[in-house]
Amino acid sequence: MAKNGLLIQYDWCTGCHACEVACKQEHNFPVGMCGIKVNELVSKAPDKVYVDYTVAVTRFCDLCAERVKGKDVPACVKHCQATCIKYGPLAALVKEQEKQPRTSLFAPK
């Protein structure tokens, strides 16, 4: 079976933290532990100050194994308010990445 992963179009990430809380709720993670993490990235460039967010998927991400048995997508994918996380077969996501600027790919263990 093809292995699935997450494609994160982080250029669209607004830093709203919905993915983090969706993940915590789904897995009942305690404080201090999460499957996904949003970080602010401020760059002081010659023309202006850039405010971006990067998204890290942690070792605790299981791509919502329980959820995706049905029709559901992972909790972070569903609730991302900027709809910038995609779930699917890694091979397809890599292809997609060729068309999508500023994206990162997460492959689970």
Binding site: W12, T14, G15, C16, H17, A18, E20, V21, A22, K24, Q25, E26, H27, N28, V31, G32, V42, K44, K48, V49, Y50, V51, D52, Y53, E66, G70, A75, K78, H79, C80, Q81, A82, T83
Partner: protein, 748 residues
């Protein structure tokens, strides 16, 4: 983890739990009577499956160990934190007796009914207040009433209705609707839409539009995610937004790039406006605001030449020195460019099906409660006689007048307060110490809330426990669709919904009989205006858009005769046109045309003070994981925003010997508060940005500490009594002077 066999209840969020102005469709998963999970509803057009951090943490809110689940009476002194559990009957009996005694001795007007902005509060609190007979509905301490009301008033005066940026939210098929087109440009004016759903606008609709081609212009002193992605960023000095708006009008009018046909046919007072804006050349605006004249020109041209374009604005507009004037100038931008009620412009926002859940204007109050009552009550409404705009536009008390009246007892004393959904001392009120001193002296105070907070601890005599969104029935229009909230679980302990509490209390206090047996009857009667009822809406998945040709459906309603009561084409204003020269403002004794007013305290207005306090303090930076002063006790959310943070420019911080993460004092002439410093180029050199509503639920709640509110609530640095000429705006929430220095030893 919720299993697929859990029961799934569809509902509409509108606080309590998610905080916020709500509107999201949600799925509440229930197992054995317990909420296991809350998710977004993919079939709901508002959020289309998504949910914010606050919505996703509702379970922690419902089952939080600190939630108050039974009525309490205070048994020690105010602030001692000594409470005793009582029954609802005892609570109601006590309140009934006290409030009836006060009404008999001092008149119903001596009781104020205080709300914040959470939950479905506008409906139930006005219901109870009018039943009791008081005219005094208030957001206590909200200086200059600086939260949407000035903007609403300006829109009401200019075009007789309210508008919002059109992100297809009035159409069932949303972005796939044939009649909709994305705005070519969206001006984001003084807001971080990603942090929530301000004024009933789901912030990420902006991102949805960007993905469909909308470009951005951002007006904000700080650099943000939005300014990063904007074609133009006007980084103005805080408090100068009025000058920006007037400068843009100047460019658009003088360069002849306004919508001439629309102005000729549908606008009144263009030549007067043209004359007025000559005073605001881009060069003059540059001197005031710090925004380069050419950048201002560029923004004005992009907005005017690319139709349709929309403006999405935020609360700082209300807090400008003349909030209702700044708002007026901005409404004129979308008016003269013909961007009003067109797809992708600023669409006229009417409550779905004509159903009012939360009355905004005097007109809506009159529809619900009758002209006689509203008129009679207006005579004694606090501040109404001082400010014609306050008297005639909306049913609120003017908060700056109220605090004086509480202190002086003139023209009549305030004796009691019913506080519901409002943390006055811990977030809502400017100068909370002054409010604390004044309110401590009231004879009787009831608080209806879900958690103890600085206000309930300091002031309440009786605490009534309110239900979360999952534990109650309610209904919602703001603006569309028409929706209902469905009760998913039995309330914990003895909690009741705000509507239940207020209906039951109204039955005891009303001077005329209340005809409703239960809350469902109230809801169904109000929904009948939309030819539907609770069960019908629930069966449909909790929401419904208005039928074809309903006046609450867009677009071009001014052409189709759907805005005026007489059915004629035009706008619902005295002249039937968009009033660039606002006859309503004139009638209210105000300048009918916009002008710029400098903040009372600024590097320009108070040069000497600025030597001592060289930085500009702008407060109220929104956190995406909190709603105002809520949620600090929710572990999943607090983890993401653990301490109150003052943003200060990195180079300025270095020159002051302040490092990232140092504890600092932010101080001005009113006092000082402790914040953790974030040294970052996000802030321009002259600006310090501080969030509002911080208190620490994990610390001692009794007086004097009151959950550390005096240490961290930035409103301790703000003051009352600066209201603008209209009674609206003119606070120092967004622009005052301050200095920042390290706390000795860098410890808290």
């Amino acid at each position: 983890m919720a299993k697929s066999n859990d029961q799934k209840v569809l509902s509409t969020l509108w606080s309590a739990g998610c905080g916020s102005h709500g509107g999201c469709g949600c799925e509440i998963f229930v197992k054995n009577g317990k909420v296991t999970k809350v998710e977004g509803d993919c079939n709901h057009p508002w959020n289309q499956g998504r949910l914010c951090a606050k919505g996703l943490a509702i379970r922690e809110y419902i089952y939080h160990p600190d939630r108050v689940l039974y009525p309490l009476k205070r048994v020690g002194k105010r602030g001692e934190g000594k409470w005793e559990r009582i029954t609802w009957d005892e609570a109601y009996d006590t309140i009934e007796k006290k409030l009836k005694d006060i009404r008999e001795k001092h008149g119903a007007e001596s009781v104020i009914f205080c709300q914040g902005t959470g939950r479905d509060i506008g409906g139930p609190i006005t219901f109870l207040m009018y039943a009791y007979g008081s005219p005094n509905w208030v957001q206590v301490g909200l200086a200059g009433h600086a939260c949407y009301t000035p903007r609403l008033g300006a829109m009401f005066a200019t075009h007789g209705n309210y508008t919002v940026a059109d992100c297809s939210q009035f159409l069932e098929k949303r972005y796939n609707s044939k009649e909709w087109t994305p705005p070519k440009y969206i001006i984001i004016w003084a807001q971080n839409p990603a942090a929530g759903c301000h004024d009933g606008f789901y912030g990420h609709w902006i991102i949805d539009c960007m993905k469909r081609g909308s470009k951005l212009i951002t007006i904000d002193p700080r650099s943000t995610w939005f300014s990063t992605r904007s074609e133009v960023h006007l980084q103005n000095r805080p408090g100068t937004d009025g000058a920006i708006a007037l400068g843009m009008l100047n460019v658009i009018i003088n360069e002849g790039i306004y919508d001439k046909k629309f102005v000729e046919k549908w606008c009144y007072g263009f030549s007067e406006l043209k004359k007025r804006v000559q005073e605001y050349s881009p060069e003059k605006v540059e001197k005031i605001s710090g925004v380069p004249a050419n950048l201002l020109r560029k923004a004005a041209r992009l907005y005017a030449k690319n139709k349709p374009s929309a403006i999405q604005w935020g609360e700082p507009v209300d807090a400008m020195p003349a909030g209702s004037v700044v708002a007026q100038a901005i409404t004129q931008l979308w008016s003269i460019t013909g961007n009003i009620d067109v797809p992708g412009g600023n669409v006229i926002a009417k409550n779905s099906h004509g159903v009012t859940t939360y009355p905004f204007s005097s007109a809506e109050l009159t529809d619900l409660y009758g002209a006689d009552l509203v008129k009679r009550l207006n005579e004694k409404r606090i501040g109404a006689n001082d400010y014609p705009m306050i008297k005639n536009f909306r049913g609120w008390v003017q908060p700056d007048v109220l605090i004086k009246q509480m202190e002086t007892g003139k023209p009549y004393p305030v004796k009691a307060a019913w506080i519901q959904t409002s943390n006055i001392l811990g977030g809502q009120a400017a100068d909370p110490k002054r409010h604390y001193e004044a309110m401590k002296k009231l004879d009787f105070i009831v608080a209806v809330d879900l958690f103890q907070n600085p206000t309930t601890m300091a002031l309440a005599d009786i605490f009534l426990p309110a239900a979360t969104i999952a534990e109650k029935e309610s209904f919602r229009t703001w603006w569309q669709p028409l929706g209902v909230s469905v009760k998913a679980i039995k309330g914990l302990g003895a909690v009741k919904s705000d509507w239940e509490i207020n209906l039951e209390m109204a039955k005891r206090l009303s001077t005329t009989p209340i005809k409703y047996k239960n809350v469902r009857e109230v809801i169904d009667e109000r929904l009948s205006a939309g030819k539907t009822n609770f069960e019908k809406l629930k069966a449909k998945g909790c929401w419904e858009f208005p039928p074809k040709n309903d006046p609450s459906r867009p677009y071009y309603r001014y052409e189709r005769g759907l805005l005026r009561k007489d059915g004629k084409p035009g706008f619902d204003t005295p002249t039937g046109k968009v009033e660039l020269y606002a006859t309503k403002y004139k009638e209210w004794g105000l300048d009918p045309l916009p002008y710029y007013e400098e903040p009372k305290e600024s590097p320009v207005a108070t040069k000497n003070l600025a030597k001592e306090y060289p930085l500009i303090l702008t407060t109220g930076r929104r956190s995406p994981v909190f709603f105002h002063s809520e949620h600090r006790m929710i572990p999943w959310l607090r983890e993401l925003d653990p301490v109150p943070v003052a943003e200060i420019n990195d180079e300025v911080a270095e020159s002051l010997g302040i490092k990232n993460g140092d504890w600092v004092y932010v101080e001005n002439t009113h006092g000082k508060i402790k914040m953790k410093a974030k040294a970052s180029p996000i802030c321009p050199p002259e600006v310090v940005s501080v969030p509002h509503g911080w208190w620490l639920p994990e610390t001692d709640g009794t007086a004097p500490n009151l959950f550390s509110t005096w240490d961290h609530n930035v409103n301790n640095l703000t003051s009352m009594g600066n209201q603008g000429k209209s009674g609206f705006g003119g606070t120092n929430y967004r622009s005052g002077l301050c200095r920042v220095y390290k706390v000795e030893g860098g410890k808290e």
